[in-house]
Subunit: 171 residues, 2 copies
DNA sequence: GGGCGACATTTGAAATGTCAAAGGTTTACG
DNA sequence: CGTAAACCTTTGACATTTCAAATGTCGCCC
């Protein structure tokens, strides 16, 4: 790939920097976005085919699965990065299906707490196992060391982004 | 399950592999997903505030911007990773706003070709410049070398995922 | 030249997504 | 007390999303 006899390595860097080095971030973003879409679509398809569930429902249940005492809707909204109004409908549907339960605690009647039903826990357990397997399969060709490195470096991206938001939100 | 194939590996790796190394892919995926959501939301907010546009509309126009002769809806669907039915409505709204034009070529009346209007090109030009700047800003704290490396390594992930799809789709 | 299979887009139902405004509740302060 | 501010959730209007089924065209083969 690299061309021969370049005693002027500096030149390349300068040229690259001046011409298109500026778009590295854009390029990275586009690739992150398309990759994420690809994986999402695959997971969505499998969740649908094998469990009749949707990805947002899975996400929401995942949060409840590790907080057996349940979570307030606002907290669910933050953790799933889904708007409040959206959580309302999501929980509503899951309640209809008997996977989730809504309770208003005694102390504060403004609050609604959602928690998994026993049925919900059982079903989600199965989904979680399958879900993890799908990801292992999809990333099977990637060197584990790279996987680990990516986790780190994307963390750096995430934290840079967090520090440059116009609204001022956090992880 | 899987047994350690080579006895030459470090103890660390074995330990890691036995304990929680199995979930590395899941961990990476969750981080990719949350980071992508974070960036998407920020871009969405800015597109809305500064241009009154939505992210899918921006994506679609981006494709048309570099194909001045226009693209068939099916091709748009593939490139934006948006379903056919979705493209229909998207283009419909953009046409209403006078940003996009729909034409049926003479040769084949099954086909609809969408292309940017002059107004569409002007407006998108401005959005593209801003968009690139937003990304540079958001990733400002990330070492350029890391940005480049991430682009490469995520490419490896993408291609692994592509090779392990149940449906069998490609980039 | 009629019809069948392949192709391209649209439609329709249901779910998810955003934002802004409205609805109750609680808290705090004068 | 009693009202205003703060908090939590829901609602409503719209845009986007997916899937499956319908619609419309083209190509080809007999």
């Amino acid at each position: 790939m690299t061309e021969p006899g370049s005693a002027t390595v500096d030149l390349e860097i300068i040229v690259q920097g001046a011409q298109e080095g500026k778009k590295q971030e854009l390029r990275l973003w586009l690739r992150m976005l398309s990759t994420t879409k690809l994986v999402s679509q695959e997971i969505r398809r499998r969740l649908r085919n094998e469990f009749g569930a949707t990805l947002p429902q899975f996400d929401l249940m995942a949060q409840l699965y590790r907080e057996r005492d349940g979570l307030r809707l606002g907290e669910l909204s933050k953790r799933t990065m889904v708007t409040n109004g959206n959580v309302t409908g999501l929980v509503e549907r899951l309640e209809t299906d008997g996977l989730v339960l809504r309770v208003t605690p005694d102390g504060d009647r403004r609050v609604t707490v959602a928690k998994l039903t026993e049925k919900g826990e059982t079903i989600f357990g199965a989904m979680a196992v399958a879900h993890e397997g799908w990801l292992r399969d999809m990333m099977a060709d990637v060197d584990p060391a790279i996987v680990s490195e990516l986790w780190q470096d994307i963390g750096a991206v995430k934290s840079s982004v967090s520090n440059h938001l116009s609204g001022g939100d956090f992880d």
